[in-house]
């Protein structure tokens, strides 16, 4: 059977999700395919910062302007994913004090609100900060949960008549008479192949966009740049902290949900699947963190992971942070003589909606559709509370819910306060619940296993609940538990010293000694481990 649509969007990150929604809202029939789960790529592996644009104001004002515009839009359309933490740019003793004035001017030129406040006032608000900061500027940064954004986008796409197929990887693009007319997708678990016919294909595969374009014989050079981040076990700042200096390693600290994330490094890699974290990267994050928050390297680091920036330069010149962070929408008809295919590449999470809009503009022009973009005003639904208007994100919300409840809803994940009914609900909505990746998918929906114990207690419980409610059989439950344990382990392993090490030994004790997990499921297949993490 062949599926048919107007536009096939490849890539379940923010850009692909945004493009699919934009097109659906313009009346086109869309199918979104993603090789793993939504946000499995770079969108799910970022630090959680919704940029004000300040970071780019000096060197890349175009990106900066895009950021501040989109920042204002996203706060309106997806408040449930955004916590208005605000942001500080701080001048530490390690920063060139002459940079700040020029930076302020550059921000103002980009229409970014900047307000200087005294270090004393800042320290009263954020007592953990380095007391030797000399200047502080407040900007409208925010913390943004990309899992929530994608869940909202997916719900909206489906509401508008579109289709979302996760765990469907593209194996081939079909061309007829020099025009891309569809793709073959393979179900990651069953291996079943299916053809999707489309009037137009959008390549929104991010760091993997070059590989997709190559399937149609087009050369798109994406320079993957790996950025490593470390989540510290609790949020010791409540405002986003940026160093006021030219962008560098480990100079952003983001309170996101219950943790504080520091990032990032910037390492050119040859393969976008290369997301291993190296010891020096962790050490760099700790050393840089120490400059922002004294004592940083002595508190508990929870988890390290890396995302791969899909940097794009048509002229192949700049690398890493030298590359511009704007984006490009490539019309392969004019560029390469291949019609029916558009590629969107570059950019950053904050500007996903704009990237999607520009891409949709191109697609509509080619398909002769005349309707205009609505996503700047279209309020995204909150799948967790479909009947209500979306509320701003507040970390205390889950605690409040439990307090407000009159009856028992077992807490499966004690660190992130995930209840049994939330888990059952999310499992019901997941079409791939028998897959070994089931628990990792549920993690993205619910933050299951993302707290200090990293799944030590909730992994067995979640597997048990899936089995008890009939979603999976015992063998599937075992595989899912084993897979989740191994995935959590991957992010813990670079950080095993001190209290994290003790936690890891307790977790190992639970799975090996108490449960005998190792005897029940074969050791993880390394190939499977390449995907999702974060």
């Amino acid at each position: 059977m062949t599926l048919e649509c107007d536009v096939l969007v490849i890539g379940g990150g923010a850009t692909g999700g945004g493009a699919a929604l934009d097109l659906a809202l313009r009346g086109l029939r869309v199918i979104l395919v993603e090789r793993a789960d939504l946000t499995d790529g770079t969108s799910g592996r970022y630090h959680g910062l919704l940029h004000s644009g300040g970071r780019y104001a000096v060197r890349d004002p175009e990106s900066a302007r895009e950021c501040i515009d989109e920042n204002r839009i996203l706060r309106r359309i997806v408040p449930q994913a955004i916590e208005d933490t605000g942001g500080f740019f701080v001048v530490t003793p390690h920063d060139d004090p002459t940079y700040a004035d020029g930076w302020v001017a550059a921000c103002r030129a980009c229409d970014i609100e900047v307000e200087e406040i005294s270090p004393a006032q800042t320290l009263a608000l954020e007592p953990a900060l380095n007391p030797r900061i000399s200047r502080v500027f407040r900007v409208p940064d925010a913390a943004c949960d990309s899992f929530d954004v994608l869940n909202a986008l997916a719900a909206a796409i489906q509401r508008e008549g579109g289709t979302v197929l996760t765990y469907h990887g593209v194996t081939a693009l079909y061309t007829e008479h020099g025009r891309v007319v569809g793709a073959m997708v393979r179900h990651a678990r069953t291996g079943e192949e299916q053809r999707i016919a489309a009037r137009m294909v959008v390549n929104a595969a991010g760091a993997w966009a070059g590989q997709i374009a190559a399937m149609a014989g087009c050369k798109v050079i994406v320079r993957p740049s790996k950025g490593t981040m470390v989540a510290m076990a609790y949020r010791f700042v409540n405002t986003i902290i940026n160093r006021c200096h030219p962008p560098g390693d480990g100079d952003i600290l983001v309170p996101v949900g219950t943790v504080a994330v520091i990032g990032t490094t910037s390492v050119p890699v040859s393969d976008p699947n290369e997301t291993g974290v190296e010891a020096w990267e962790v050490q760099r994050m700790l050393d840089e963190g120490e400059k922002i928050v004294p004592g940083f390297s002595r508190v508990r680091a929870l988890r390290a992971w890396a995302g791969v920036r899909p940097l794009y330069e048509e002229n192949e010149a700049a690398e890493g942070r030298e590359a511009k962070r704007t984006f490009a929408v490539l019309d392969h008809a004019t560029r390469d003589g291949v019609a029916g295919l558009a590629t969107v590449v570059g950019g950053k999470f904050t500007t996903y909606r704009l990237m999607a809009e520009r891409t949709a503009d191109l697609v509509c022009a080619q398909l002769g559709a005349t309707s205009t973009c609505q996503t700047a005003t279209y309020l995204l639904p909150d799948p967790r509370r479909p009947s209500e208007a979306a509320q701003p994100h507040w970390p205390g919300h889950r605690l409040e819910q439990i307090e407000a409840s009159e009856t028992l809803d077992p807490l499966i994940c004690e660190c992130e306060l995930v209840t049994r009914s939330q888990l059952v609900e999310a499992a019901r909505a997941n079409p791939h619940i028998e897959a070994k990746t089931a628990l990792d998918d549920l993690r993205r929906d619910l933050r299951l296993g993302m707290g200090p114990c990293q799944g030590g207690f909730c992994n067995y419980r979640a597997g048990g609940v899936l089995h008890a409610t009939g979603s999976v059989d015992a063998a599937q439950a075992d595989r899912a538990i084993g897979d989740f344990a191994q995935r959590r382990w991957k992010g813990q392993r670079p950080l095993l010293w001190g209290q994290s090490l003790r936690q890891a030994l307790l977790d190992e004790h639970i799975y090996r000694t108490i449960l005998g997990m190792d005897a029940l499921c074969a050791p993880g297949d390394p190939a499977d481990m390449e995907q999702a993490d974060g």
Partner: protein, 427 residues
């Protein structure tokens, strides 16, 4: 970074939530969680909930209110999480929200009243016979329960007409032996309970210290602030704390030890002023460093070879309850060590974590049954022990245990005073 700077990150007691590995050992040891469904346990309201608390927003977790503050969680935690301290700090925030939301909640007034028991004691003492009579009428207690939520069965000690302080500066100055020249001084912080209700404990402590050649001095003092602190009124507790620090610091600065008989009040001076109330001053540090539990102090004297051991043979078996807050001092069991010096005396630790009352917790009507259930195994054990008298070094625990077990319960110093032959001051 300068050498003396301690990063806030490493200083803040709430940071210790970071050390939790979710083993729930604290929950298994929590005496309150063991007896009620209303309290989810210290790990739940402590290191777990702490991650979701936002300094900008009121803490949304009312179940925290059922924490009694006994601190068993902190003691058993093998990972150095200051569970109880995290909870008490969060409780203060909870109270602020309650105050904002509903000033007329009778429990708030009750908690205010229990927090101000110093004033209560003062007042009651002026009219001691009448106060005791009124408090002795069942109707009074019923009314208090209905209007204020103070449980009618909770132990109310008798007010004393002659306060300890008046005795010390009055009768005692006349009758005591002259102070030997060059006698080392000890500053005695007696606390509200000794002053108003149990002056005999204060007299025993003075007698034991003077028998060992110390000159006892009484600094100006007021309530230590603990009742307010545990009822979430940190501002009120800080006012008391600062007043005490002002009068005690000069003694500490001279190296004069400050001793206390009450183990909970002592924790205030030793640690809570700094770590819970956040008073990080030189005065607070000096006072803390020079403050000792009376048994701790005397055992140190013994270890230095300075304690008199002219104890009379005392054939007795005395069950001993270590109060929950005493364990937080991290001083071991100096009272048991001292008692072991008395020939013929056998004191046995009962090994129960808490008697249930934890300061003012068990006075509250909605918590009375919980507090009773917490202490019940101890009461039963004491009743079965065959002893007529038991020992406990903290006042509300003493009253509670006496009330529930029917045994007479006294302070270790009362026994030592008697063994020294100074019984006119003690028992």
């Amino acid at each position: 970074m300068s050498e003396t700077y301690t990063p806030i990150l490493l200083e803040d007691i709430r940071r210790t939530a970071d050390l939790c590995v979710k083993c729930n050992i604290c929950t298994t040891a929590c005496p309150v969680a063991a007896v009620t469904d209303l309290f989810p346990g210290p790990k739940f309201v402590g290191p777990q909930a702490q991650r979701f608390r936002d300094p900008e927003m009121p803490s949304p977790d009312d179940s925290l209110d059922y924490c009694s503050g006994c601190g068993v969680c902190t003691q058993v935690c093998p990972h150095d999480v200051k569970v109880m301290e995290i909870n008490i700090a969060a409780k203060a925030e909870l109270r602020e929200r309650q105050l904002e939301e509903n000033k007329l909640d009778p429990h708030l007034w009750r908690n205010w009243l229990l927090g101000h028991n110093e004033a209560l004691g003062e007042l009651g003492g002026w009219f001691a016979p009448i106060s005791n009579l009124v408090m002795g009428i069942p109707l009074t207690r019923t009314l208090m329960e209905v209007t204020l939520g103070i449980d009618r069965h909770a132990p109310f000690p008798k007010f004393h007409f002659t306060k300890f302080r008046s005795w010390f500066f009055g009768a005692h100055q006349k009758e005591k032996a002259p102070t030997p020249p060059g006698a080392p001084k000890v500053a005695y912080f007696y606390g509200c309970a000794t002053n108003n209700y149990e002056p005999e404990v204060g007299r025993a402590i003075v007698a034991v210290l003077e028998h060992n050649g110390f000159e006892v001095v009484l600094p100006e003092q007021n309530c230590c602030g603990l009742p307010m602190q545990s009822n979430g009124d940190f501002d009120g507790a800080r006012r008391y704390a600062n007043a005490n620090l002002r009068t005690l610091a000069p003694y500490a600065a001279e190296g004069i030890p400050i001793v206390l008989g009450g183990t909970s009040c002592a924790m205030e001076l030793k640690a809570d002023y700094q770590h819970l109330l956040g008073i990080h001053t030189e005065e607070a540090r000096l006072v803390a460093e020079n403050t000792y539990d009376i048994s701790e102090f005397l055992w140190m004297q013994h270890e230095a070879g300075r304690l008199r051991t002219d104890f009379a043979r005392t054939e007795a078996y005395l069950p001993y309850h270590t109060s929950c807050h005493q364990k937080l001092h991290r001083i071991g069991r100096p009272a048991l060590e001292l008692l072991s010096l008395v020939p013929g005396l056998r004191a046995e630790e009962m090994g129960f974590d808490c008697c249930g009352i934890t300061g003012t917790y068990g006075y509250k009507h909605e918590k009375y049954d919980i507090a009773y259930a917490v202490g019940e195994p101890l009461f039963e054990r004491l009743k079965a022990s065959g002893a007529e008298m038991a020992l406990c070094d903290n006042e509300t625990c003493r009253w509670n245990i006496a009330n529930q077990s029917g045994l007479r319960v006294v302070h270790t110093m009362q026994i030592l005073a008697r063994a020294y032959g100074l019984s006119e001051h003690g028992l």
